[in-house]
Symmetry: C2
Subunit: 336 residues, 2 copies
DNA sequence: AGCCGGGCTTGCAACGTTATACGTCCGCAT
DNA sequence: ATGCGGACGTATAACGTTGCAAGCCCGGCT
């Protein structure tokens, strides 16, 4: 049986509250008393019951993190960063994944499984603004990632349009003129997503034409999706001299197809990804990528939740995290 | 303010307990009453307070999963599988990562942060048997992975020795005779780990010599470690014709180095990894790998925890999960 | 008519903790 | 000596839920 304050109190011959005071380092406790109680605690191996503490205090010390899929290394790395950031504040992280499915995202945002949590960090994919508008839950919610809602919630992300423009600019500066975009969302009600928008804007501002034949949609965001999309473009007979992919796995899937078809990266086709996952650092051709500052994103997300919990930060804010473009072999060639 | 049973009861004009009965689908409730209460619940937007429920019931519905690092896609994919398996039983998953550091693993196994959990699934790296022997926590613990303790805890893993032998056998069958092993643990007190043991056993049983110069240790288990280790082997002047890596990231890091030095995979060096992560399916050269049945591992881990929670399964058991060797280009060449 | 039993509802206690408010004791200033 | 304030310890009441046992009501049986 678990030992409770009551048991310790009985053993030490003091009241329950005094034991509680010792446990919580309440200041008005004589050293002698403190030691007596501490000894009883040690002898019995007492450990506080957090559930009870949380019931009493109305807080659980748990933050939920809901991501589309852990299989994507970007999200896995982000999850690790969030866990660490939360630990700094003595919070622990409950992890959920939504598969990027709207239905699941709605459930999570409504607090579905997790009536145990103090706050929620959600990285939505299909979730619509109306879903959030209907949200009745009152645990603090912080949004991550590319989607962009005009709603009173904190939102943390890199400036996707600007970041995408930087990536495309890099390709144009290399002299590329036919820049494909791989990873648009199929049949999505929302205005084309921000990275696609950045691609478009940068092409236009460089005086290049925007050619829908160079946009490939994907079902998901994995290697296989990138490979399939690249294949589709090539099968139309198009021969782009550059590819900007929605993320790194898609870029790597595309590079695989290029290599299968005997097209060289970067000589024939330069490739830029997004997220800067470790995997991209070690391929036969390493991948140029936009690198969001994951640690900063994680830190700011956790801090936003906590700020809201403590009633600070009344104004919902959009926070831009840092990013940089890291050029590697897929746009520069191998440096031997 | 959150609405509680009391508020609903007041609204519906019934007792708290009756509302509780409705919420819990207690059978002796008249349809009329059920409807009346349900209406009050809906109007007020009542949601049960799980903390209170758990305090009352002594269970939290939360399982902790402690992994070495999420950055390794194998663990990320495993985490996803565990979350899904737990969800089937209405359990949610608290995630922790230990960095594979003994100190952290001890903390976790002692229930460190998580006095909130019903059970713990731990994938240890450096943890020693003595650490577990001193364990005082009484929440069920299930161990995952390669380490192997002679202690009364459930343990779930693939048969690493046999799996490693299968991988090495595959290389030998291709006619390779100089098979390097990359990813041994540096300065580890425990007998050389099981995959290394399998490598050794299979070489011996094939009548080949076991050459310590072909064993490379690593600090961690990432791409960079594999690359560094491969570099070290090559710099001794050795030219193995095959590599068996502790896991896929190490294998991929090694392949990168081979490619930098102009050695072809698989023609000059055949490579086999372990874990079958998605990344390996899409490199310029796809990676042959041992594929553990992650879903099965996750399922069995969760079920073991739950069985122990409900007092079943008195005998701690070691369970072997399925695995298969999936041959790809890194041992077969590109099929086109 | 009275009793019994089962279906339905309820009051109470308890899970383990902390906040509040109070009581006691001591030392010090008056 | 008396009064006062601060330091220290404690009793009690919550937090929101569910298990238990008891109570009520009604139909059917004796």
């Amino acid at each position: 049986m678990r030992v409770s304050l009551k048991d310790v109190a009985a053993r030490a011959g003091v009241s329950i509250k005094t034991v509680s005071n010792v446990v919580n380092n309440y200041q008005h406790v004589t050293p002698a008393m403190r030691e007596r109680v501490q000894q009883a605690i040690d002898e019995l191996g007492y450990r506080p019951n957090l559930t009870a503490r949380h019931l009493r205090q109305g807080r659980t010390g748990i933050i939920a993190l809901a991501l589309p899929e852990l299989g994507n290394p970007y999200f896995a790395e982000l999850a690790a960063a969030v866990i660490d950031a939360a630990a700094l504040h003595d919070y622990i992280v409950l992890l959920d994944h939504t598969g990027g499915r709207r239905e699941q995202e709605v459930l999570v945002s409504q607090g579905f499984r997790a009536r145990v949590i103090d706050g929620l960090i959600l990285s939505p994919i299909e979730l619509e603004a109306e879903d959030l508008r209907e949200r009745t839950e009152n645990v603090p919610l912080v949004l991550l990632g590319e989607r962009h809602y005009d709603l009173p919630y904190d939102h943390i992300a890199v400036d996707n349009v600007a970041a995408a423009r930087t990536a495309v600019r890099h390709l144009i500066d290399l002299g590329r003129r036919e820049v494909a975009f791989i990873g648009a969302r199929r049949g999505h009600s929302q205005p084309a997503h921000l990275r696609l928008q950045g691609w478009r804007e940068e092409l236009l501002s460089a005086g290049l034409s925007v050619d829908d034949g160079l946009i490939a949609t994907t079902e998901g965001w994995g290697h296989a999706d990138g490979a399939a999309a690249m294949t589709r473009i090539l099968e139309t007979g198009r021969r782009p001299d550059a590819v900007f992919a929605y993320n790194d796995p898609i870029a790597i899937g595309a590079m695989r197809v290029l290599s299968e078809r005997g097209m060289r990266v970067p000589e024939d086709v330069a490739v830029v990804g997004f997220d800067d996952v470790v995997e991209g650092h070690f391929g036969t051709v390493t991948l140029t990528s936009v690198s969001p500052d994951k640690e900063a994103i994680a830190r700011m997300a956790v801090e936003s939740v906590l700020a809201r919990l403590s009633g600070q930060a009344p104004e919902p804010r959009r926070v831009w995290a840092d990013y940089r473009l890291i050029a590697r072999e897929s746009t520069l060639g191998r440096s031997t």
